[in-house]
């Protein structure tokens, strides 16, 4: 293992360009924030952060392009740095794009709605988003437990700060504290599981673990079970899968709305990315004669997914607070997002990544859009309760229309991105003949109609207390409409995206090659 000691070369920095850009922007913006006099609005930091995100995105795009040219040239379309400590491949790149795009949308939306009296540390608020995304990106593209863990913690610790940013409200601090404790505990579980994995296989490299795990299963299955279940529990906490979800509504409600959106989309997506990395490289090989360990692991994921879907929508039924409602819907959606992975890779089901990333993308759009609307409405109504939406159809018809589209997508009604995302996942479920899981998914979808239409009910069927028009700040409005339009587009024409993903992503090179 230690035969060749690889070191980081200058050449390798090219592959780290997006990450470096983000780190550099963080530092520059931090200095700028210190240097700029107080009277200058901190929105400029926000625009800077946006710029950084876009720049990083450009580099990711560049990488994608590079990789595809390699593929055409017959070279393997991925690059392992330092023996897999960092990995540039299409799996990672695609997810990075999603994270960067989602964060950019969220930042853009927040530029219109963030108020200084609420978030006094506005400068930090904006530029700390960058290291958080950096953490997420690391989680998506590493082949080493340590790197993955550091990425996770980078994202986690930054998120704690961001959640607490709404310093004027006590609930923000409370949410942050709850998040710290939950996140810390989750990290401990994940780490504990990792330590067992390391111990059973003697490697922190995922590829090394994958090589040795089969042996470990044969030798001491109980230990491997424990290792994976600790990991699963840790991730379930991070992802807020039922019954590990209870913290989510509290944290989501207390956090500033853009951060809530970020947590729901990027933090969750990154956790999924890491889960994929680990599972596809290790759990997939965790079989030996006379054990059903592998099946059991996937069964556990399925059970968690089912529980999350049901508990999420059931919990959302009685919520009166828009953010809590969306938090619980996020629980359900995390369950849905888990399904493709939980279905395992089999003869009849190899499209797990397409299914996952398509729904993730759809979820990003509808979530970011919905939270942007919530932020706008909350600004007008001075409350994040659902009742703030009352009569929105009269007060801001176009925003109401956009929200209708987003809510339909959340509910999985055609023809929206959410619908097709769900459809693909369902198709996979049915193809692997996991009908019970499909039934649970459908049942939760039906219950969710009730949940999501509480928005509709408020917007269309109720008169608002005030009939004043709601003002929509331009950047936020832009985001709302980008999200709504993209949601519809994803419903009608999912083909380009899926073809593109399929063209780039490949199970063999992204998941199975070492």
């Amino acid at each position: 293992m230690q035969t060749v000691v690889q070191t980081l070369t200058w050449h390798d920095t090219w592959y780290l360009a997006p990450e470096i850009v983000l780190a550099a922007f963080t530092i520059v913006l931090a200095i700028l924030d210190l240097a700029l006099p107080k009277r200058i609005g901190r929105n400029i930091i926000g625009w800077g952060a946006l710029l950084g995100l876009i720049a990083a995105g450009v580099f990711v795009g560049w990488h994608i392009h590079d990789l595809s040219t390699w593929e055409e040239a017959g070279k393997e379309p991925f690059r392992n740095l330092l023996d897999g400590s960092y990995r540039v491949d299409d799996f990672g790149n695609l997810l990075k794009l999603v994270f960067l795009g989602a964060t950019a949308l969220i930042v853009l939306a927040s530029l219109g709605t963030t108020r200084t009296d609420e978030i006094p540390i506005k400068g930090e608020f904006y530029y700390l988003v960058l290291p958080a995304v950096l953490g997420a990106m690391v989680m998506a593209s590493s082949g080493d437990l340590i790197t993955l863990f550091i990425g996770m913690e980078l994202l986690g610790i930054t998120s704690y700060v961001l959640v607490a940013a709404r310093k004027s409200a006590g609930i923000s601090g409370e949410a942050a504290f709850k998040y710290v404790v939950t996140g810390g505990t989750a990290s401990a579980f994940v780490l504990y599981g990792m330590s067992f994995l390391y111990g059973m296989t003697g490697s922190t490299r995922l590829s090394g673990i994958g090589d040795a795990i089969g042996n470990a299963v044969a030798e001491s299955p109980a230990m491997v079970y424990v290792a994976f279940f600790l990991l699963i529990v840790g991730f379930a906490l991070k992802l807020a899968l039922a019954p590990f979800h209870a913290w989510a509504p509290d944290v989501y409600q207390g956090a500033p709305t853009p951060v809530t959106s970020f947590l729901g989309v990027v933090a969750k997506g990154a956790a999924f990315a890491m889960l994929y990395r680990i599972f596809v490289n290790t759990a997939l090989y965790a079989y030996a004669d006379n054990t059903q360990l592998r099946d059991d692991l996937y069964l556990a994921l399925k059970v968690l997914a089912a529980a999350a879907m049901l508990v999420g929508v059931a919990g959302a039924l009685r919520q009166q607070n828009a953010k809590r409602l969306l938090a619980l819907s996020g629980v359900a959606n995390a369950g849905i997002l888990l399904i493709p992975l939980a279905l395992d890779v089999t003869n009849f089901h190899a499209s797990l990544f397409s299914e996952f990333i398509y729904y993730l993308l759809a979820y990003v759009l509808m979530n970011a859009g919905a939270f942007a609307v919530v932020a706008v409405v909350a600004r007008g109504a001075k409350s994040e309760e659902l009742s703030g939406f009352a009569g929105l159809y009269h007060r801001a018809p176009w925003t109401a229309a956009a929200m209708t589209v987003l809510v339909c997508s959340l509910a999985g009604l055609p023809v929206t991105g959410g619908f097709f995302g769900k459809l693909f996942i369902l198709f996979g479920t049915v193809q692997t003949k996991e009908y019970w899981l499909a039934a649970v998914l459908l049942a939760s979808t039906v219950i969710s109609y009730y949940v999501y239409f509480s928005f509709i009910r408020q917007m269309y069927l109720r008169g608002g207390e005030s009939e004043l028009p709601v003002t929509v700040p331009v950047p936020t409005g832009l985001v709302i409409w980008i999200c709504a339009a993209a949601t519809v587009a994803m419903g009608f024409l999912p083909k380009p995206i899926l073809e593109w993903v399929d063209g780039l992503f490949s199970l063999t090179t992204d998941f199975f090659s070492r």
Binding site: N347, A350, V446, K495, D502
Partner: protein
């Protein structure tokens, strides 16, 4: 001429175009909005009539079939993981439209009822624009359901009816409209979820087609009705696909059961009927016209097309149960209709009763029965649309539709009462009006196999006489309460749809060949399957 036009898509999407155009019209221009809505409602009706005229039963409407590859989703099948040695593996979503003897009558029905409902929408007093936009969207969904020839497309259209209907009930209904709308949404959502599960089961196992290309076999899955029908009818299909992947018999049974539940909710089948009572009583009359007149028929249509035709073995196995359920529906609905005090509720139960007859027709397993089921659907659509049109008129004038509060309306509103009586008579299956034909054919079809069930089922005809006369006579005969003395009979605008619907009901009753000729050959394929199923 029609061959060159994508007439089916035109029918389906004209209302959608109308809805989009309406969005651009300013809120205040009520007259313009209404006029455009009417135009975009009548346009597909005209197209449907043109289609009917051009339709040749023997061709089975092949001339109009439309197919467009909409989406082709790669399923990432890589070397070493592929089934059947296929090199590519895709999920296809084709946009397929088609019309045959089964769907054509229902398309016409949709056009007629929707147009009449549009005319009747003069009763709508608030939020015009939104109303008509939703109304048009709903139409696209309905047409699409009857025209789609792909399971996914069907599902999408099916769902598309859900949302506009939710709003139409929830915004323009009566007192507890929200409750009704919510129940409609969740119950029907459940139905379509169950349907989707069944559809996906079929697609993922039997919707395959294998195409040999230069680079190897290309395996694709699609919801194309034709592909599914061919595969399910082909005894070698399982061998063509990697054996374990194909639909096993027990799964077929499960899929059929799911379809029965899914479409049973829509139909509605006892005991899944309670949601529609709420809708019937709480929604605005033009909306109920659509709902009772068309949406319920989607259940019958779906059950016939996807349950009966795709899974004939299962239909055969289930036929006794379906027939029994149909009889339960008939008698249960009828007996309950006999004791209702609210006329709308009575009509709701009568719908349950009448849709039971549709089930009987389907369970008959012969062409007569199938034709009866479709005929009954069309006829009930027209009749219930007419009845609810009258209900709307009456409610507008009297503010109530309770049988015990009304009476003697024949004195004050002779025209409306006369139409009501006619509609009632049609509803109780009077020969010479359309209701009889459907009932007769259904009973006739089923009688061959289950005479005793039919004998019980005809009791429904007796009860229908009881409740219809009780309701209609209770409202129109007798002494006129003083407070209704000053009522004015219908204006011409209101009378127009009534006359049109009545005329159609009479026409279909007197000369049923108008529809049955179009239906001829529509069932040929299915019947062949059924016969071979019997042979096995």
């Amino acid at each position: 001429m029609l061959d060159d036009l994508p007439i089916l898509s035109m029918i389906a999407f004209l209302p959608l175009v109308g809805a989009l155009v309406l969005l651009l019209v300013p809120q205040g221009r009520a007259r313009l909005i209404r006029g455009m809505a009417l135009a975009f409602t009548f346009a597909p009706l005209l197209a449907a009539v043109a289609l009917y005229i051009a339709y040749e039963p023997l061709l089975g409407g092949e001339a109009f079939a439309e197919k467009l590859t909409w989406l082709s989703v790669p399923l990432n099948m890589e070397a070493g993981l592929s089934a059947n040695g296929a090199t590519s593996y895709r999920l296809l979503f084709d946009y397929r439209m088609g019309v045959d003897g089964i769907s054509l009558p229902l398309v016409l029905l949709t056009g007629v009822v929707a147009s009449m409902a549009a005319l009747a929408s003069v009763q709508i007093r608030k939020r015009w624009k939104l109303y008509y936009v939703l109304f048009l969207l709903l139409q696209t969904g309905m047409y699409g359901v009857f025209l789609a020839r792909d399971l996914t497309v069907f599902f999408i259209f099916f769902e598309m009816t859900l949302i506009p209907m939710f709003f139409l009930i929830g915004i323009w209904g009566y007192f507890s409209r929200e409750n009704a709308a919510k129940r409609f949404l969740v119950y029907n959502g459940l139905g379509s979820a169950v349907m989707l599960l069944a559809f996906l089961m079929l697609i993922a196992t039997a919707g395959f087609s294998i195409e040999q290309t230069a680079s190897g076999a290309a395996l694709s899955f699609s919801g194309s009705y034709d592909v599914l029908a061919a595969n399910l009818a082909d005894p070698n299909a399982a061998a063509n696909l990697n054996g374990s992947m194909f639909l096993s018999d027990s799964l077929k049974g499960a899929a059929f059961a799911l379809l029965v539940v899914a479409f049973g909710i829509k139909l509605p089948l006892f005991p899944f009927h309670t949601w529609m009572l709420k809708v019937h009583t709480e929604a605005a009359p033009p909306v109920v016209m659509i709902h009772s007149g068309i949406l319920l028929k989607m259940g019958a249509y779906g059950l016939l097309r996807f349950g009966a035709f795709l899974l004939p073995d299962q239909l055969r196995a289930w036929a006794p149960a379906l027939a029994a359920l149909g009889v339960v529906n008939i008698v249960y609905g009828a007996v309950l209709a006999c004791v209702q005090k609210e006329f709308k509720l009575m009509l709701a139960y009568s719908s349950i009763s009448h849709m039971g007859i549709v089930l009987l027709g389907i369970a008959a397993l012969n062409e007569t029965g199938f034709e009866g089921a479709i005929y009954q659907s069309v006829s009930h659509g027209l009749i219930s649309a007419l009845l609810f049109l009258i209900v709307g008129t009456l409610y507008e004038r009297t503010g109530t539709t309770r049988i015990d509060e009304l009476g003697g309306l024949a004195s004050a509103l002779p025209f409306t009462s006369g139409i009501l009586l006619t509609a009632g008579l049609a509803s109780l299956g009077l020969p010479g009006l359309s209701g009889f034909v459907g009932e007769f054919l259904s009973f006739l079809g089923l009688f061959d196999s289950y005479p005793w069930l039919v004998a019980v089922g005809v009791l429904g005809l007796l009860f229908s006489a009881v409740y219809v006369l009780r309701g209609v006579l209770g409202m129109t005969y007798g002494a006129l309460p003083d407070r209704f003395a000053g009522l004015r009979d219908v204006r011409f605008v209101e009378a127009l749809p009534m006359i049109a619907l009545t005329a159609l009901i009479v026409l279909l009753g007197v000369y049923p060949s108008l529809l049955t000729d179009a239906m001829a050959h529509g069932f040929d394929g299915a019947l062949k399957l059924l016969q071979s199923a019997a042979g096995r």
